[in-house]
């Protein structure tokens, strides 16, 4: 038998490995197909979709910070329908799992979007109730346990796909939100989305972003994300995808040891496009070196 220590079952889907590309950082796969060797990964998450698409936010959208960046994209996307027609066939052709990330401004928009995705061959639906960059909806659903549970339950009832609920670290009581989503029927949780941050243009004496606040990601957030994943993994029994600031093998291993079954890499792909592919190789070597039958043997050991 061949040695396949990275094969991972996640929400009933068999992944080649536990390394996934985080939503919003690889678009729909085309641009990074070769640069980031996407077909080598366990899966890729689409850019956040909304039912009818969106042009995104005006003004500056990217601002570099120490070891990270603030973004205020505002879910620019072609809409669920065009995603299915124009982007999904390509994503499918990559030969890794396809996760559709679904955002929304209202309950009805989420539900309609999820229903439309029932016609699509995706492996997992990632419910984004954590986008800090749209003014109504988005993160508002993920801040409060009751509204998070509500939307989770309604989408779960409508969707035929395994449901991964993506949480925001900006929730005052993240563990309560996580537990409420589990209770409401989520098949898994992914965290963290970006931390609300701010930048000021001191020359112009005004905020850099039109929305004033924006989402912080990258290595700068790693230790906080790790703590949050650890806390949530202790509190729930559904699988967790660990996200936030992964730059190298040690970071990914830390998330797995803290209890995440898989990891998603976001911002680091911008800095070094081969990060995820390299990580797959390094995790393989790690298993071999440590005589692990499967990487899952280190999941949640802490």
């Amino acid at each position: 038998m061949s040695y396949e220590p990275l094969v991972t079952e996640f929400l009933g889907v068999t992944l080649k490995n536990p390394v996934l590309a985080a939503s919003g950082t690889v678009g729909f796969g085309r641009e990074y197909e070769t640069l980031a060797s996407l077909s080598k990964l366990g899966g890729i998450c689409s850019k956040g979709l909304t039912l009818n698409g969106s042009l995104g936010n005006d003004g500056p959208r990217i601002y570099e910070t120490p070891a990270g960046l603030l973004n205020s994209i505002g879910l620019e996307n072609p809409g669920v329908g065009r995603f299915i027609k124009e982007e999904l066939p390509f994503m499918r052709s990559l030969g890794c799992a396809v996760i559709a990330n679904l955002g929304g401004h209202s309950e009805i928009e989420y539900i309609k979007g999820a229903s439309l995705l029932n016609d699509a061959e995706i492996d997992i639906l990632e419910l984004n109730i954590s986008c800090p960059n749209i003014l109504d909806g988005g993160m508002a659903f993920g801040i409060d346990p009751k509204s998070a549970a509500d939307i989770t339950k309604k989408v779960k009832a409508k969707s035929r796909h395994p449901l991964l609920v993506k949480l925001t670290p900006n929730a005052p009581d993240l563990i309560a939100v996580a537990a409420a989503c589990e209770e409401a029927g989520a098949d898994g949780l992914s965290l963290v989305n970006t931390f609300l941050g701010m930048a000021i243009d001191t020359k112009l004496r005004k905020p850099v972003f039109n929305n004033v606040y924006a989402g912080l990601s990258g290595p700068a957030i790693f230790p906080i994300a790790l703590r949050m994943v650890h806390e949530v993994c202790k509190a729930v029994s559904i699988p967790v995808a660990g996200i936030g600031g992964i730059a190298a093998k040690e970071d990914a291993l830390s998330f797995l040891m803290a209890g995440a079954s898989v990891v998603q890499i976001g911002s680091m792909t911008f800095a070094a496009p081969d990060t995820m592919a390299k990580l797959v190789d390094e995790l393989y070597d790690y298993c071999k070196l440590n005589a692990l039958e499967n990487i899952r043997q280190i999941v949640g050991i802490l």
Binding site: G24, T25, G27, L55, R61, G68, L69, N71, A271
Partner: protein, 238 residues
């Protein structure tokens, strides 16, 4: 990974960096450059091809030190490694006939390779270059290799000097007010003008939607669908 073969100051705060082993591209396209393994600065910096020696495979970049990233670049020594992703974006179309190039400040950098390419693609055409600088001029001699006329202005308004009634195509790169002035003059004269836009970038390859701008044809990613646009397409947003 590319290797730095030269990195010298050619004017105050203006550096020339030569790379071997970097991907080659066309005039107006750019590279996303970063020192490998550095988490701070975190993102790669977009720099345009300033010239390319196809025989030796050497890429020349000319950059101004602005902040953290470009200041760190300026300290790198010969032999240092550089991560270079590219060629990124769509460059300048080489319109047949006489050409006028208008560069302001560091915006002159990509125009050098453009002049080179225009000359190579049509040796008999007339190429006129207007270069404007705030204090100190640079790259003038290099432009002389390819252009028929090079006019240099220090401290003035460069678009005032350009005549938009003669050439087959006009190309501009520089600060936004300069591009705006050029776009207005070109529109009035019915001239074909291509401009190169800038916006902060994260990926540089079209994946993050971090650099979109509004155009007549809808949202466009400056890093992928640009950075060069027909001025008519974008001049409302300038």
């Amino acid at each position: 990974m590319a290797v730095i073969s030269e990195n010298i100051e050619i004017a105050k705060g203006i550096f020339k960096m030569c790379l071997s082993g970097a991907p080659l591209g066309e005039a107006g396209q750019f590279l996303m450059l970063k020192q490998p393994d550095s988490l701070d600065p975190f993102l790669a910096r977009p720099l345009s091809y300033c010239n390319i020696d196809k025989n030796s495979g050497t890429v020349t970049l000319v950059y101004q030190t602005i902040g953290k990233g470009t200041k760190a670049f300026s300290k790198l020594k010969q032999g240092s490694l550089m991560q270079a992703v590219g060629p990124c974006g769509r460059g300048f179309p080489l319109v047949s006939g006489n050409a006028v190039l208008i560069g302001g400040g560091i915006g002159t950098a990509p125009l050098l390779l453009l002049a080179h390419a225009l000359r190579e693609s049509q040796p008999e055409r007339h190429i006129k270059v207007h270069l404007g600088f705030r204090e100190e001029a640079y790259l003038i001699k290099e432009f002389g290799q390819y252009a028929d006329e090079v006019s240099v202005d220090i401290g003035g308004i460069i678009t005032d000097a350009a005549d938009f009634s003669q050439a087959a195509a006009y190309y501009a790169c520089g600060p936004e007010p300069m591009l705006k002035a050029a776009a207005l003059k070109a529109e009035k004269a019915g001239a074909e003008l291509y401009i190169s836009l800038e916006k902060n970038m994260a990926c540089g390859v079209g994946a993050c939607f971090g650099c979109t701008c509004k155009t007549k044809g809808g949202n466009k990613r400056i890093c992928k669908d640009g950075p060069v646009f027909n001025a008519l397409e974008v001049h409302d947003v300038l």
